[in-house]
Structure formats: C-alpha cells, structure tokens
Symmetry: C2
Amino acid sequence: MTTYALAVDLGGTKVEAALVADDGAVLPGSRDRRPTGAESSSEQLAGSVREVVRSALGALPDGAALVGVGIGSAGPVDLTEGTVSPINLPAWRGFGLRALVIEAAGEALAEGVPVILRLDGVSLAMAEHWVGATQGVDNALAVTVSTGIGGGLIVNGRLLAGGTGNAGHIGQVQIATRTPGETSQNVTVEVLASGPHTVTWAKMQGWHGERGEDLARDYAAGDAVAVAAVRRSATALGEAITSVTTLLDLDVVAVGGGFSRVSADYLDLVRATIDEAAYNRYATRIRVVASGLSDEGPLVGAAALVHQAHLLG
Amino acid sequence: MTTYALAVDLGGTKVEAALVADDGAVLPGSRDRRPTGAESSSEQLAGSVREVVRSALGALPDGAALVGVGIGSAGPVDLTEGTVSPINLPAWRGFGLRALVIEAAGEALAEGVPVILRLDGVSLAMAEHWVGATQGVDNALAVTVSTGIGGGLIVNGRLLAGGTGNAGHIGQVQIATRTPGETSQNVTVEVLASGPHTVTWAKMQGWHGERGEDLARDYAAGDAVAVAAVRRSATALGEAITSVTTLLDLDVVAVGGGFSRVSADYLDLVRATIDEAAYNRYATRIRVVASGLSDEGPLVGAAALVHQAHLLG
C-alpha cells in the first residue's frame, strides 16, 4: 500500500504543503499554497500554515496511512528547540513551527508519527539525492540561486544537519575582503551572486532593466553590462563552491533556482571559475550539474525527511 | 592485553612513527623521526619512512599484538589510490605511501591487519576527539596554525574524509577578494594567517624580526607592527572559522600549532572576529578552545585511525 508523508515548505514569499507518496510523487490535488512575506504578522503566518496543512491533509485517500510529517523551513532554524527564525519573515524569531504544524494536523497525526523539521536547503539536498541530480552520490552539495542563495549537504552518504540544524547555509560563506568592524554580510556569496543583488549591481553600472528576466534577455543579446553582471554572479558562486569543496572534498554540486537559468552557459561559467580558482587540484573534480528537480522539489525534499529518514545524520 | 597501533605521521619537515596503545599512550622508546624536506629526492623520502617504520616496530613488546597501522600525511592525498602529493614535498606526486609502509613493515603485519591512510589534519581531528579538546563533541573542527594551516572535521559524530580523503583542508578556504585569472592561493586563510606569511607581512611593514618567536616577544612588548601582524592573522583565522561554521554549524573548534601561541590572547582575538563577522548568529555559538594535544598529537591521531576506527565515515 502506498504510504504518504505530509510535506510542508515554509519560505519568504509562500508556504506550501502537499501529500507525497513513498515513490516521491506529489498526490494530485493535495498541494496547496498561501502567501507569507516580510509584512505578515505572526498570526497571519500561523494562519497560512494551518490552512495549507489542513488542506493537504484533507486530500488523504480513505484508508491511506500518513507515516510522517516533514517540514523544510527558510533559516536559520534551531532543531534543539524546534523553532525557526527565517531571515525574510521578521515576525517569526524563535517561532515554534514544529509545534504549530502538529497542532494544525490535529487528530490526523497518529501517536508516534515522526514530525521532522530541517532547513529548506537541507530538505532540497535530500530531494536531489532521492529523485534528482545527486542520486547515489555520497558527498554532494545542493545549491539554489534565487532571491537568496541556499544549500544543503550530503556527506559520508548522510544528511548533514549541523549541531542546531543550520549546516548548508552556503549563502553566508565569505568570499571577499571584509571591512574590519562589519559583519561578513556584504562579502558573502549571496550578496555577490543572488538574482536581486545582481540586478541591483547591473543597474548601478547603468543597465536599465528591472528583473532577472530582463537580465536574461539582455545577456542573450550580448549587452555588455548584462554579460558582466551574469559573469560576476557565476564567478562568485564558483568561488564559493571552490571553497566549500576544498573544505569538504565533494563529488557533485547540483545547482538550481531561477537565477541559475539566467543564461544557458551559467553552469559553464561556474565550472570555469572552479577550474581557475582552485589551488588544490582535487577541488576541480567536483561535477557541476543542473538540479534534477521541478518546482515540486522543496515539497519532495520535505517528504524525503520522512521517506528517506535513514539518511538523517 | 594492551594492543598497539603503528602510527606514522608524514610532514613537510619530518616523518615520525611510534607504537600507540589502545588508551592513546605512546609506547616509551618506540618513537622515531627522520627529516623529509622539499629538497629530498623520492628515494631519500622513502628511506626515511622505511627507517622510522622499522625502528618503531622494533619496539613492539614480545607477545604484544599489532592491530593496525594508521598513517597521517600532509596533503593532498588520494584515498582511492592510497597515494599522497604533499604540497611541501615536491618529489612525491601521486606517491604510493600506503604501499611503502606495508612493504617496510613486512612480516610484522599479520594478514588482514588494517592499514589506514588519512590526511594529517583529519588524523589530528581524531586525536582531539579521542584524548584532546573535542571529546564527546559530534560537530568539531581541529585547526593547526603553524608553517601552514591545516584542519580536520568531525561531523554527525563521525570523521569526515571527503570523496578522496581531502576534507578538512581549511587552509585553502578563500576569505578575501580574488583577482580574476588567478587561483585563490593569495586570498586563502593560510596565506593571510600562517606563521611564515605573517612574519613576511610584518617585515614588509618595516618590522625587523625574523621568526614567529621574535613576533611573540615584540607583541608582548607592545610593538605596533607586531601587534598589527598578530591581529591580522587571528582575524583571518576567525573569518575562515566563521565561514566554516556558517556552512557546517559546528559545536567546537580546537586550535593548535605553534603560531596559535604567538600571543596569550590569540584565541580571544579569533573569538572576537567570529562574534563580529558572523551574519547568521548561530555561527557565534561555536566554542573556540586550545588544542588538548601535546607534540605527540599527530602520532596519537594516526593511531586513532586504528583504535577509533568506528568513527571513520
């Protein structure tokens, strides 16, 4: 009999939930989403979570077993407390998301059913390993290049959560010279390579577009600033991956997220940077591949926390 | 009955071997060392390894059991091939160190006795976890600040080797702005923080000493350039640790190596940088502690590859 996990993905712009079968398929009709956003109050956010949880659970077929709940959340998280403090949801700091999902699920959760919270990037790494581009790989990084830059790690064939659940936060890795007295914020790969930051940089160079889609169009047309902006992003990402695989000696990195498709050669530019920047040559052996996930990836990853629980560290 | 491991530590200036008991104690009289060095030929290096291996094995008490061989080597290494390519021993590139040690040990090695090669920083992380400053810790980094900067990682309560054995190479993590077209060599923490590089930087600022010991003396006396040089090193190390624990969410970092004792407050300076630089606040929870190892640490770590084999990833 097919078993289902309730998958919940909390992000800066929306929260989604769905039922995901043990083969990684999202149950048709079970997927629901509600907006979140930086302006939302804590009660509005909680309401959105309750709605998508109840909506998804309502689609559970008669007689089917709900074997667990997997929650992927924008970080930071604190697994020791079961709380989340998403950077882009200021109303929630140290918020008990795990407890909220349990409350919202109510009687649909049988006693002893596991409810597992992890960072969203970590969930995505699980999805890549289960049904995506890093299947069968023991040392892999999954990276998303979008509004922000997030990631998750599989090492020694197991998920790497870190002491409080925040392992995988590649976006805040420092790759440029920091000004003493400041945080590393302005010298991290996220600030040097994300979609919005790259658009902002291009506009400062005199480019007249507004969005990543405009940058993609102008890059394809050979606009000099658009080309420079895309290369700058790919170079920063390549440098961060070089640092990470120098430290961790990885086999594969799967790169996804909308901005990673800003140009057809974005991954080629990333690869070229790794080849150029790596001082220790073993670091160049990492394979740079496109994500194997659809837009269901975050939900599939949250479900993998249940269906692939043997990979949890 | 006490069991012994043959421990071998290959570095850029010397190779050492000893017998180490299953409680982490080096057997008195079993420790031997021979020089290595960048000028040595491959045959000279091999001769030194053979000598220390045979000398150590000759100290095995009558009737005592040799239960394994642990080899820690300067990197990079290639565990899939059993070879080493130490940066500071140019005569050895892709050299079969594991096979050489097996040949040198000869009949002292009973059939089926494990011979385990790892990066030296990785071995040191094992030693810190076994008898040093990270005992009982599931997510820990061991760092050595000396001629170079090396490291090793314990994550999820297990040793992290990486796909080819090179995980832990923190010295080549990039923490400053790279010039396009170049490798990251000149912007890594090793080049910004190691003992020799820090001495060179101080001399470029007009300081008149020659060695780390001179820098230590002048720092203690309040010499402005010596103070700036030591702070520059500790700041770079703090930034690298911030990046690493942002990525891996570690509990503890144990800092050792001669240059980490250049000033009494070196670890305080590292801690202050982490507190200042970390953008994600969970990264500041890492405890910065002094290494708990003596100068036997590298040998104890190599032996830990045998006696603590359950930690191997």
